[in-house]
Amino acid sequence: MAHMTMGAEGLRSVPALLARNASQYGTSPAYREKEYGIWQSWTWADTAKEVEALALGLLNLGVNEGDFIAIIGRNRPYLYWSMVAAQCVGAIPVPLYQDAVAEEMEYVLDHCGARFAIVSDQEQVDKVIEVQDRLHQFEHMIYLDPRGLRKYDHTRLHQFSHVQDQGRAAYDEFINELQARSSKLDYDSTCVMLYTSGTTGKPKGVVLSNRNIIETAKASSEFDHLKANDEVLAYLPMAWVGDFIFSIGQAYWTGFCVNCPESPETMMTDLREIAPSYYFAPPRVFETQLTQIMIRMEDSGAFKKKTFDYFMKHARKVGPAILDGHPVSAIDRLKYKLGEVMVYGPLKNALGFSDVRVGYTAGEAIGPEIFDFYRSLGINLKQLYGQTEASVFITQQPDGEVRSDTVGVPSPGVEIRIADNGEVFYRSPGVFVEYYKNAESTADTKDSEGWVATGDAGFIEEATGHLRIIDRAKDVGAMADGAMFAPKYVENKLKFYPNILEAVVFGAGRDRCCAFINIDLTAVGNWAERNNIAYASYQELAGHKQVLDTIQAHIEEVNASIAQDEMLSGCQVHRFLVLHKELDADDGELTRTRKVRRKIIGEKFEDLVNALYDGSTSVYTETEVTYEDGRKGKIKATLEIRDAKVVPASNQRMAAE
């Protein structure tokens, strides 16, 4: 750990870290990407050269200090280099969500006044061209994949490799300028600007300085003992702060290798081939994987199924204890070892988790069964709690203190305070500088002493010092009779069922709770296949009587479990319907990080909400949907509304006594 004792002196920007890595880890791999069926790799020395060539090319194109450069595309080494090259020339990289539609991009590009954009392919080029006439500051676009772009007007359009070639050719002309600009960067210069997806309102540009990123990367790398020979798979959106911290912040601080998948469809195969040692995924990914395993086990032969069930039962019993280093009897240990050979090892291998030393999940609550499943296999899966505004880390779980219902202890350097209304506040070196061009919001979120409001309600467990999050502070409301209403709490319980992909619970200011349910097409579709139930569309399956019966059973189980919680027993779901379409970010119903936008859904499906509360047994509705290419269409449906059994809270308590 020579570089750590060296301190952060002189290493006050990402380009400075790159220079250190190029000299210190010059020959070890910095990036890998699978292309043409083979893992192509670049060492740190190669990376420094590529970044330099691009930075010179950018100077050649006329990038000024303080310019914003939009970066749009899936995770590729070239786009990571683009971010660092932008920093080298004193510009600010702004990664955008690649699946955003043109209008969303227009807002962000206009808000930051980007003069340049570096994009992946024709699809992104087309989107930017569609809106560029309305952006008066926009000048040049650089693309990676030339396919289909040959006939485009190339006066303001450049191929990535050509920009690099021109940069190399103009080396003598610009190298002094480049070095001058890079050496000017310090802890206070802006490292990156990331737009929050925003569950309400327009996205806000979060400005993060080099101090924020590097201090956070340093503290979190030390917390989990990350090493230069660790491997990560970069597959989460580049516009998301987590990817920036893992694939740039921590990667440049510790010098580990970032691997990029061949295409989004091959992600799972690539994961297996790379077998990362440090892995991050939102709960959704773990859920999907578990669902797939279970589906495949259902389809397997009797012997395999029995073996799997037998050893998984044992793993659930002793696996987490072994992982946490608690005492476990020798016989159980032996049996677990046998299970490792028979089931756990091959399963981890198939999932690509053989080498995972540290795994994190965050962004949403994870179901306890799902969490325990992975931990029982011996995968050190932990939870963290974070925000863009905090450069990710607020709290995280130390090794050996992992539970599914807490989000851990404050990360190194982070202070936590709980306000009187239950809202969680934090202060840390990672706290963002400001919201770009939005002093009002900045002041609302961050006070003069540097405390930031998370917007989440929670409390610290006295015995352990772990933070527990209840819900979004502004979502926690009251029902008509004054009882506490925490929709997210109920929705999470519902979403833990594999058949339920998404749930939206209504009830603030009402006399009872009702819910919208989205079925999970993979799980329910497989069930339909195995039971010979024919269906032609998502809509038809979602309206099937047996599907409704299953969902009803799930809701009733959840009601029974909620009834045991004195504070929240009023949140039981009285009536529900299964939505005829999947909630989608393209329709504005979810954020790009797939969080439900409660208010928008409530307004958009007002007719359905009313039907839930007026006692009708079915409702006819028409919904506008946006297709992937931006066209709009309508779907019509008649939905059945059902009553679910609720458990009177008082009875429950009596029964328990």
């Binding site: 292309e35 043409y36 069926g37 396919r147 289909g148 006939k151 295409s263 469809e265 091959t266 195969t269």
Partner: protein, 270 residues
């Protein structure tokens, strides 16, 4: 006949001189005349379509081009020389690759292996070298695999690289067939109804791939298609056939306004 100057298309592409020419082709099966005295040319870099109602003789024409049928009368000129009667594999060696109307892939083999078969015409290592996996055979395999991987990347089928073709849906099989034909690095690519049986989305994808192939590799494309919308959007020039005769030839617009073509498609009493 000796026009080799080429022309510029509506979207600004430069089309080269004549690459292949059919001169007074007639094809008979016993007493049935499948093709009757047809002449047309295919120029370098263009997308040439052959259209016509069912039974017009389109596929027979394609089979003549690919060497599967030898014409009863007439000559095929390719790259400035008259082509002697030859076997289809010899034609393929000359740079003519094709896809089939009814998918003709090896169902039990993976996508990768299927596409590799497209490179067979470029492999000439000896039996011993192949068997020992040494020397020329190995070098060749690596070189060919790289070419194949570029095609796989181009057609975006990386995720099914190792999947047996038999397990793929129809639309993807069509794409794999295109990949195999492309792997041969043909001068002329013959597509026999590339969109048949596809849904709108698959047709859009396939159209994009065909245009991209033409644009990226400069491959000359000759296609047969039923979907008029697709033909009119994709092709630079169109040959129209009906009952074995050529009834029209020209740009999509010219063909669209040709009375004989309208009659053939809408039907008039013969």
């Amino acid at each position: 006949m000796k026009d080799t100057e080429g022309y510029v298309t509506a979207d600004g592409r430069q089309i080269g001189g004549t690459l292949m020419e059919m001169r007074n082709i007639t094809l008979r099966f016993g007493g049935v005349v499948a093709i009757q005295d047809i002449s047309f040319d295919i120029r370098e870099g263009e997308v040439r379509a052959i259209i016509g109602p069912n039974g017009a003789g389109k596929s027979s024409m394609l089979n003549v081009i690919s060497g599967f049928y030898t014409p009863s009368e007439g000559e095929v000129w390719y790259k400035g020389a008259k082509r002697p009667p030859m076997k289809p594999f010899e034609v393929a060696r000359q740079g003519v690759a094709r896809t089939f109307q009814n998918i003709a892939l090896f169902e039990g083999m993976t996508v990768l292996d299927n596409v590799m078969t497209g490179r067979l015409t470029h492999m000439n290592a000896g039996l011993a070298s192949q068997a020992l996996w040494w020397g020329k055979a190995r070098d060749e395999e690596m070189e060919n695999r790289e070419k194949v991987e570029r095609v796989i990347d181009f057609l975006e089928i990386q995720n099914i690289r190792k999947t047996p073709v038999g397990r793929l849906p129809y639309g993807l099989k069509k794409r794999v067939e295109l990949a195999r034909a492309l792997a041969a690095e043909p001068s002329i690519l013959l597509l026999d109804e590339p969109m048949a049986g596809m849904n709108v989305e698959e047709k859009e994808d396939m159209s994009r791939f065909i245009l991209d192939v033409n644009d990226e590799f400069g491959t000359t494309i000759c296609l047969i298609e039923h979907d008029m919308g697709v033909v009119m959007d994709l092709s630079d020039r169109v040959v129209v056939m009906d009952y074995g005769k050529k009834i029209g030839d020209g740009t999509p617009d010219e063909v669209r306004n040709n009375q004989d073509v309208i009659d053939a498609y809408l039907g008039v009493p013969h």
